[in-house]
C-alpha cells in the first residue's frame, strides 16, 4: 500500500532546507568538485599548468586539487602525446582510479595522435581508455580546457541514477 504523505518539517528551518532529487544533488556535488588526475605527458601539460595557475584558474570550477594520485581523483586529463611505451602505464593508472571517473583528452595528440602518424605514437588515447570530452588544439588554450571542463560538468549533471549506475570501463 502506497501512501502519499505530505512532507512536513519544522517551519523554523524553512529556507534552510532544499528539496531535490537524489540524482540532481549527487551530480551537483560531483560536477563541482572534479579533481583532475593530470596525465601531463608533453607540451599540453604546460597549458594544463597555465589553466591551473592564477590567470585561468581551474580552481574556480572545483578542480582545485591536481591530485597526482589516481586513487584520489575523478577526471584524468590526458595532456600530451601518448606513445606506445607509455600506453600500458596510462591504462594501469586509469584502472586505479575509483568510479565514477571521466577522461578528458586534451590536445590533438591525445585525441587522435596529432601530427605524429608514426610507429611510436598511439593514435588517440581513446584506443585504450573511454574518453568523455576531446579538446582540439595544439596546444589548446587554457580557456579551451576550461570549456571542456564545463562541458564535462554538463555531462556529469545529466548522468541518470548516479548512485546506481554501473560504468563500463
Amino acid at each position: 500500500m502506497q501512501t502519499h504523505t505530505e512532507i512536513s518539517y519544522n517551519s523554523k528551518v524553512e529556507g534552510d532546507v532544499v528539496h531535490t532529487r537524489l540524482d540532481s544533488a549527487i551530480n551537483w556535488f560531483r560536477k563541482n568538485s572534479l579533481w583532475p588526475m593530470p596525465m601531463g605527458l608533453a607540451c599540453c601539460a604546460i597549458e594544463l599548468m597555465a589553466a591551473g595557475a592564477s590567470r585561468f584558474d581551474i580552481a574556480r570550477f572545483g578542480s582545485e586539487v591536481m591530485r597526482f594520485s589516481p586513487r584520489q581523483s575523478d577526471v584524468m586529463i590526458v595532456a600530451g602525446t601518448v606513445t606506445y611505451k607509455m600506453a600500458t602505464a596510462l591504462r594501469r593508472i586509469y584502472e586505479q582510479m575509483a568510479e565514477p571517473k571521466w577522461v578528458i583528452a586534451m590536445g590533438a595528440c591525445a585525441s587522435t595522435g596529432g601530427m605524429y602518424r608514426s610507429y611510436a605514437v598511439l593514435q588517440g588515447v581513446d584506443r585504450i581508455v573511454p574518453v568523455d570530452v576531446y579538446v582540439a588544439g595544439c596546444p589548446p588554450r587554457p580557456e579551451a580546457l576550461l570549456d571542456a571542463l564545463i562541458k564535462l560538468q554538463g555531462k556529469v549533471a545529466r548522468e541518470p541514477f548516479a548512485s546506481l549506475q554501473k560504468r563500463v570501463a
Binding site: Y84, K85, A87, T88, G113, Y116, R117, S118, Y119, A120, V121, L122, Q123, R127
Partner: protein, 223 residues
C-alpha cells in the same frame, strides 16, 4: 682556420686512415677509412687535440648502397672552440664498430639510440640495450625500409603497436609545383606516383655529399 689545421694534424698522425679534410659551408669533415679504429682516433682527438666534447653521434642509412651505414661523430673543443665531423662507413654484414664510451661517457646513450633505431652494434659498450623503444621490440624503426606508419606488434604486459593510418601519405611535397595545390596534393602513393619517381631518379645523380656518397635509396624501378 684552426679546425683545418687540427684536421690536418689528425691526418698526419693517422696517415691513410683519415681522408683529406673536406669543407662545406665552413664545416670540416674527415672520413675514417676503417671503422674499427674509431676508438683510437677519438682518444687521440680528445687527449692530444683537445676535442673534449662529443656533441653528437648519429647514423645514416645509405639504403641501396654498400656500405649501408655511415656513423657520424661531431666533436668540439671548449679550449679551441673548433668543431670537427668524423665519419666512418660500416657495411651491413658487419653492422658493428667499437664504442667510444671509453673516450667520452656521453656516447653511452647516443650509441644506445643508434642501436635502437638502426641496429648498429657497438663492441665494448657497457650496456647496449634499447633506449626509446622497449626491450623485445622486433624492428629497427629508423631504417629506410621500415615504414613510417610502423608495424603492428604485441608484447603482452609491456607494450603494443598498431600501424598508424596514413591515408595516402606520407605527405611528401612535390618540389617545384607551380602552386600549393600542385605541390601538396590531397592523396599520393609514392610508389606509383610518376612525378615522385622521376624526381627520385633525377635527384639521385646529383645529390651526393662531400665524400661522394649519394643520398636517397637505390634504383627505383617504375612499375
Amino acid at each position: 682556420m684552426p679546425t683545418r689545421e687540427l684536421a690536418q694534424q689528425l691526418k698526419t698522425r693517422f696517415g691513410d686512415l683519415i681522408s683529406d679534410p673536406a669543407e662545406f659551408r665552413g664545416e670540416i669533415t674527415v672520413t675514417l677509412a676503417d671503422a674499427n679504429s674509431i676508438a683510437e682516433v677519438c682518444a687521440h682527438a680528445k687527449k692530444e687535440m683537445g676535442f673534449d666534447y662529443l656533441v653528437d653521434v648519429s647514423s645514416v642509412d645509405n639504403y641501396g648502397n654498400d656500405p649501408r651505414w655511415t656513423v657520424v661523430y661531431h666533436l668540439y673543443g671548449y679550449g679551441h672552440h673548433c668543431h670537427l665531423r668524423l665519419k666512418t662507413d660500416v657495411s651491413e654484414e658487419v653492422s658493428e664498430l667499437p664504442t667510444v664510451t671509453g673516450v667520452w661517457r656521453t656516447a653511452d646513450w647516443h650509441e644506445r639510440e643508434i642501436y635502437d633505431m638502426m641496429g648498429i652494434r657497438f663492441r665494448g659498450h657497457p650496456d647496449l640495450r634499447r633506449i626509446l623503444m622497449w626491450e623485445g621490440y622486433p624492428y629497427f624503426p629508423l631504417r629506410k625500409d621500415f615504414p613510417l606508419a610502423g608495424k603492428p606488434t604485441v608484447l603482452p604486459e609491456i607494450a603494443f603497436t598498431f600501424s598508424a593510418p596514413l591515408d595516402g601519405g606520407p605527405f611528401v611535397t612535390i618540389a617545384g609545383g607551380k602552386d600549393s595545390t600542385a605541390r601538396e596534393p590531397r592523396v599520393r602513393v609514392p610508389e606509383s606516383d610518376d612525378v615522385e619517381l622521376t624526381a627520385r631518379l633525377e635527384r639521385r645523380q646529383d645529390i651526393k655529399d662531400v665524400h661522394g656518397h649519394s643520398h636517397g635509396p637505390g634504383t627505383v624501378k617504375k612499375k
